[in-house]
């Protein structure tokens, strides 16, 4: 049986992990390679690296990071942030990433998803979506530019469009829950999961172990992504998996 996946997310700026793991005895808590190996040992199922570099040089450094991580890591990893063209995708995938994630660039030009899927296969193309509840819409609205800009898209419409264009997976972040640590957005995850046949990764809101069980059991998410809850040792990947097993969720 296919297992539910746990995915720690690492923010990388100019080649260094920011908000890095604070608790383990690492020689260098800002080293993406060392952190990646640490999470692999913890039985993380995949990793996501989000490049938050603002500069061209910073993004070039990211390519070196990807190459180095790919040389040591024996689990899949996705790279997102600042990917705006097929060329950007090619550079990151050639460096050894398994998937790229597109966000703002895909909303601005949905055909980019199609182009990426045609060149590299749908399995490489993750579409990341930031969504926030909107009273006027009576649903969730899609935002771009790191959650700063509202778009015209209602979330299930955008998800259907993205998958129609060839997205192989959806990384769904709830802006309402992000940082709140009160659990994943079950209703949002359910709404998106019900309109697509590709895997959905729930993100935003993880605060304790049980939150992961809830999003798997109540929204049937395929994977759950979290950052600070793992980095700051509020819980660990291994502990979350133990709780999931107790609650009957199938994990590796």
């Amino acid at each position: 049986m296919l297992t539910k996946r746990l995915i720690p997310c690492l923010d990388v700026k100019d080649g260094r992990v920011v908000k890095g793991v604070q608790f383990v005895d690492l020689r260098d808590a800002g080293d993406p390679v060392e952190l990646a190996a640490f999470y692999d040992e913890q039985s993380a199922d995949e990793l996501v690296f989000l490049d938050i570099s603002a500069s061209h040089e910073g993004r070039k450094t990211m390519v070196d990071v990807v190459r180095e991580v790919a040389g040591t890591l024996a689990i899949p990893f996705t790279v997102g942030g600042g990917i705006n063209s097929v060329d950007d995708m090619r550079v990151i995938l050639r460096a050894g990433a398994d998937k790229v994630s597109l966000n703002t660039a895909a909303v601005l030009r949905p055909a980019l998803i199609r182009e990426g899927a045609n060149f590299f296969g749908s399995q490489c193309i993750v579409v990341a979506i930031d969504a926030k509840w909107d009273e006027g819409l009576s649903s969730w609205r899609v935002y771009t530019h790191g959650g700063r800009k509202p778009t015209e898209w209602e979330v299930t419409d955008w998800v259907k469009e993205a998958v129609g264009q060839g997205a192989g997976e959806i990384l769904l972040t709830s802006m309402d829950q992000d940082g709140a640590k009160t659990g994943f957005d079950i209703a949002l995850t359910r709404a998106v999961n019900s309109v697509v046949t590709v895997p959905v990764i729930a993100s935003g809101g993880a605060g304790k172990r049980e939150d992961f069980a809830d999003v798997f059991l109540q929204a049937d998410a395929d994977a759950a992504l979290a950052a600070s809850v793992f980095h700051y040792k509020e819980t660990s990947v291994a502990e979350v998996k133990e709780t999931l097993r107790e609650k009957g969720v199938n994990v590796r």
Binding site: A74, I75, T197, D222, R252
Partner: protein
């Protein structure tokens, strides 16, 4: 020496890195003369079956690989590379494969017999069940999970070629093989410790075979 067949389709980097971690010498090449010097080959592959066969045909690698196998040399296909070993795929109509193993690749139906929808691609970690536990490819390995990403599934004509399966709307052939032609539907190079053990087993098989030939 292991030869990784470079024909422009696939995550060659991660396969070569995995061999480096195992301290196994390899060449990465699409050149038949270069590859001919190797003791065993790995055929990786990500993407569409029809595109992959088109390139293999254009570069005359199709007859060359058939000859390689006829000469009783080891070959391991990974992911799409495994599906290419079979007779055909229903992707984009029908496309002929390398026909080294009996069977075909068909798309996951996306719905169980009972009518329940399920996700396609089959993406993530799934547990291996060994149907031939004594096979050299799986011998002395822990039973565990490996990483899959695929939308097409092989229907082998005979269960004799199935070495391990994973459960996803039925038994999905996960490791296949006959004589010295093998395939893994999952990505051993992305499957943590167990994946590395399985790759190591293939390399050992190649090396032992080479030693007994000399």
């Amino acid at each position: 020496m292991i030869g990784i067949v470079d024909y422009g389709m696939g995550n060659l980097h991660s396969v070569s890195k995995a061999l480096e971690r195992l301290n196994v010498p390899y060449v990465l090449s699409g050149d038949r003369e270069e590859l001919a010097k190797c003791a065993g080959l790995i055929l990786p592959g990500v993407g569409a079956f029809a595109d992959a066969m088109k390139i293999l045909n254009e570069r005359r690698l199709t007859p060359w690989l058939k000859r390689w196998v006829a000469d009783e040399k080891p070959l391991l296909g990974i992911c799409l590379g495994m599906q290419l070993l079979f007779e055909e795929s229903e992707e984009h109509g029908h496309t002929a494969g390398l026909s080294l193993l009996p069977g075909q690749a068909v798309r996951f139906r996306g719905k169980t017999r009972a009518g329940r929808r399920y996700k396609v691609p089959h993406m993530g970690w799934n547990k291996l069940n060994y149907t031939q536990p004594e096979h050299p490819l799986v011998r002395d390995t822990e039973r565990g999970h490996v990483y899959f990403v695929h939308s097409y599934v092989v229907e082998a004509t005979t269960s004799e070629v199935v070495i391990a399966t994973a459960e996803y709307d039925g038994d999905v052939p996960a490791i296949v093989g006959r004589n010295h032609v093998f395939g893994t539907q999952f990505h051993p190079e992305k499957s943590s410790h167990l994946g590395m053990q399985l790759l190591r087993n293939y390399v050992t098989y190649v090396q032992e075979r080479q030693a007994s030939d000399q």
